[in-house]
Symmetry: C2
């Protein structure tokens, strides 16, 4: 006999959408969870988006959601800086969503890289040599390195694309300094931000996601129940090779299965 | 007019001792601070020692101190794991002081590297290929990487010796994974642990240390007053080259100067 699930953490890329496509029945699954009275939070390692951008994407897909229900690695980074380093100035290497999120949390942005106490790195899909070099100057002048997340690649329409780890690698190699803070799944910073929003203890939470490394791992490390969906990163052929500590409690073809299996999983 | 100093954070290597030698008058300086009623905490990036080992060293030098007044990067790492990852198992690469400190904080140590959720790396002065390879196995089986601190070198009787960054580099290069958590000075984890022990707000704290990068930096990032001593890492010739954000409020030839200058600095 296990505890009834009251809170559900839901990944976005590969679980709710894939590129610009909603995963079939994802919207109905969310509506179903709401009809059962479950509390919901969306958790994503996207550090190059702001909550507002993510809210607009979910709304475009016809899903009812509030900005508070969205926790991105940019959100968690911004919350951490505001709470632990209120005096410090920040330079960024990343798409503009990160800066929007930092500004919203009253994080101080440095006017020039030389004044920064921290460089925050996230995915930067329009990055130029100039951007990289400004970040290099920040670290050369003593800024310490943070990364919203440390994912190596993400799937796009051409297969795989370079992710944050590539940007971090460039700066580490050029400066000889190492990243010191990472905030995305599966870290405790992300898990605790989600639990704070849900106001539900971890043993009454279920996390649904497509990544063994970030979603299932985070759930297991924090004592949540875990459901892996096969609409993203993980192929059915990989399931047998999973180590004991990586194994999800449930494997679903897609988040749409929640409608059919909800009762069984939530009890 | 500034606030009176009530709490003093004091570095150890290069500030209180150098190798096995007490820095002249360091013991008298501490006694003087105590006679003025100041609260004291010793803060050190040594992650390969336990508090007990450090307590014994200070006692050997004839200094009156409690274990609670000693905060090492091993202490902060152990506190973090206990607070944020109570369910997780840990493998270590480092001298035995780290494991002693983890055990004291009820952190779960993995029986074999394959079961570890985290690898914690610190300085390991008796490291063998076998130790390195066990740590490699932990990360190969999914353990995420923490480092007590990320100092590159430390001074010993032969000049400079390889520090934690060397051990971290070996594991990162072999596994392709990156360190995700660092706990030593100048991070907020260390600063907040010290402030919690002192029970004094940062604007009423003075930090005394020999390192611009870790001691002065931590003080400045957290709004403390800062005093650099010239008995360790920093040479007088380096002072002119310091950037504005690195400059200490005071420069002392040694911590012994506190006896003479205490009144001026503490007001």
């Amino acid at each position: 006999m296990t505890d009834e699930i009251e809170g559900v953490l839901i990944d976005l890329d590969g679980t709710i959408w894939k590129g610009n496509q909603l995963i079939p029945h994802a919207d109905e699954a969310i509506a179903h969870l709401r009809s059962l009275g479950k509390r919901i939070v969306f958790v994503s390692n996207r550090g190059n988006w702001s909550r507002r951008m993510c809210y607009e994407q979910l709304t475009r897909f016809g899903m009812a959601v509030t900005e508070e229900e969205i926790i991105l690695s940019s959100t968690v980074t911004a919350q951490f800086l505001r709470e632990h380093y209120p005096l410090c100035q920040v330079w960024t290497l990343g798409d503009k969503g990160l800066r929007e999120e930092l500004r919203l949390h009253q994080v101080r942005l440095a006017a020039v890289p030389e004044e920064a106490d921290f460089l925050v790195i996230t995915l930067h899909e329009t990055m130029t040599y100039q951007d990289l070099n400004l970040a290099f100057r920040a670290v050369s002048h003593g800024a310490r390195i943070m990364a919203t997340n440390i994912d190596k690649t993400f799937p796009n329409e051409h297969g795989n694309a370079i992710d944050v780890a590539g940007m971090v690698g460039a700066i580490e190699a050029a400066t000889g300094r190492k990243v010191e803070f990472v905030f995305g799944k599966p870290t405790c910073f992300m898990a605790e931000a989600a639990l704070r929003q849900l106001q539900v203890p971890p043993n009454r939470c279920l996390i649904i996601g497509d990544s063994v490394e970030s979603d299932i791992r985070m759930g297991r490390m924090h004592g949540m129940r875990t459901a892996l969906v096969l609409t993203g990163n993980t192929k059915p052929s990989q399931l047998d090779a999973l180590r004991a500590k990586e194994r999800p409690d449930y494997v679903l073809d897609s988040i749409g299965d929640i409608i059919r299996l909800g009762k069984e999983i939530m009890q």
